[in-house]
């Protein structure tokens, strides 16, 4: 039986993580999830009238990569990727599930989720899948710390969340639509 990494140790990490992310750092993003029942797709698996649930604010740690500028025949475009790390316990308590295709709003930029990772374990074990624990041979060890989401900035005209075709200058923040 392992000496360290028991459920009691994991509880300490869990509380520190929670306090750090939710209370101290407190950076939040908005998560927009599509209402699949109301978003009709066409033959090509696309829809230009997407419907979303109300956004959910979630605290997280964010690593924004440098903006990459690309020039091709269509003009100069830019893209950026980012990694958003969430406390798994926070998401579990609120039944929040990240999926590819979800939209995140952070810093007035809209990110489309490319990948969702959940394999960062404290003590190298995930209690949910730890064979010793699941077969009741020993007590709980390890801790599944985070859910990590990789995303890229997407064209906001495809999202149908904000009005992009109207004029006006220095529009700070536009209220979402299609919710």
């Amino acid at each position: 039986m392992a000496l360290f990494g028991s459920a009691r140790d994991a509880s300490l990490i869990r509380h520190i993580n929670n306090e750090l992310i939710v209370n101290l750092i407190d950076i939040e993003i908005e998560l927009y999830k599509l209402v699949l029942e109301d978003t009709r797709e066409n033959l090509y698996g696309e829809s230009d009238q997407k419907k979303y649930y109300n956004p959910i604010k979630i605290p997280c740690l964010i690593q924004k990569d440098e903006k990459t500028v690309i020039g091709d025949d269509y003009g100069i475009d830019s893209t950026r990727t980012g990694i958003f790390a969430f406390s798994r316990d926070y998401l579990k308590d609120r039944t929040i599930i990240f999926e590819i295709g979800d939209v995140l709003n952070y810093d007035n930029e809209f990110y489309e989720v490319d990948a969702v990772h959940g394999s960062n374990y404290w003590g190298g074990r995930n209690p949910s899948t730890d064979l010793g624990y699941t077969s009741a041979e020993r007590s709980e060890f390890g801790y599944s710390v985070e859910v990590r989401v990789e995303a890229h900035i997407t064209q906001r005209n495809k999202l149908n969340l904000v009005e992009v075709r109207t004029g006006g200058i220095n529009q700070e923040y536009q209220l979402p639509k299609n919710l």
């Binding site: 090509y44 696309e46 003009g75 100069i76 830019s78 990948a115 495809k158 992009v164």
Partner: protein
């Protein structure tokens, strides 16, 4: 002894060029514009036809929006600052978008010219102006039955070229791409342009839809265009391609009479003799007699 005329002052091998005054006709008094059809005009014709005649639109979120059309690879300031309406608040380019790119320019095989160094004289097109200031109504011209003077404008034969373009279509959805193609396709073979017009064919369409991880989904198509155009520049080899010429003026002397004698009879009196010259008093007495006789 007359002065010797030197005729090889510029070169030892060829004679000095003799000035032909027929070539020296002033052009600053006429209003005929020197026509020029440049490569820019051909590009402009294609883009203006798409922008002003085809005016492709797509439906996005229930709204009909015009599809911006631009020439590929403009300067950075133009692409980013001038065309800001094509970007969202974060500066990201938004679809739909049509970009046009010129690929090649070749001389048309069927209409090749015999371009040997200089255009040989006479290899030109002659156009006739219907009106000339010299033909304004003139009574003297009518009396003398003068011929109308004609103004001719001689232009060089243009270059006949084939220009190929790639019309790059980029939309958010395949449905929008279909819509743009459906709007442009019927114009294949038409004369594209708003001022200059050039016959334009659309070749095979190619489609590209990619959905790579870490990038936005791309829905793109390429339409190759083949335009039959003409090029006529304002000047070739520093000489204007349009020359003005005037019809040949002739002065005809049809007949000439020459005699030492005056043609009239001066020696003999006319039959009945000469009448005397009547004075004013004679006229008054004649008038009085006439009145008396009437009474």
């Amino acid at each position: 002894m007359s002065k010797i005329r030197l005729n090889k002052t510029y070169s030892s091998f060829s004679k000095d060029q003799v000035t032909n005054r027929a070539n020296e006709v002033r052009r600053d008094t006429d209003t005929i514009k020197t026509p020029a059809c440049t490569i820019y005009d051909v590009d402009y014709a294609i883009i203006s036809y798409l922008r002003d005649v085809v005016q492709p639109t797509v439906t996005e979120d229930g709204n009909v929006i015009d599809v911006p059309i631009m020439y590929a690879n403009g300067e950075k300031w133009s692409a980013v600052q001038k065309h800001g309406y094509m970007r969202d608040a974060a500066g990201k380019l938004m679809a739909p978008l049509i970009s046009i790119k010129r690929n090649s320019l070749t001389e048309r095989d069927q209409l090749k010219k015999l371009d040997v160094n200089l255009n040989p004289s006479g290899n030109a097109m002659v156009m006739h102006n219907a009106f000339s200031k010299q033909n304004r109504y003139d009574r003297f011209g009518v009396l003398t039955n003068a011929q109308r003077s004609k103004e001719y404008y001689i232009t060089a034969v243009p270059e006949f070229i084939d220009v190929t373009y790639d019309l790059l279509l980029w939309t958010s959805y395949t449905d929008q791409l279909n819509s743009i193609i459906e709007q442009i396709m019927p114009t294949g073979g038409f004369a594209w342009g708003t001022t200059w017009k050039f016959n334009t064919q659309i070749d095979d369409y190619s489609f590209e839809t990619m959905n790579n991880i870490g990038e936005d989904r791309l829905v793109r198509a390429t339409m190759p265009l083949r335009t039959q155009a003409t090029l006529l520049l304002e000047s070739e080899l520093r000489a204007s391609t349009v020359q003005k010429r005037l019809s040949v003026k002739k002065v005809l002397f049809k007949s000439e009479y020459s005699s030492d004698e005056f043609p009239g009879e001066t020696q003999h009196a006319p039959p009945g003799g000469y009448t005397s010259i009547r004075t004013e008093s004679d006229l008054m007495s004649d008038l009085e007699n006439t009145i008396k006789n009437r009474d």
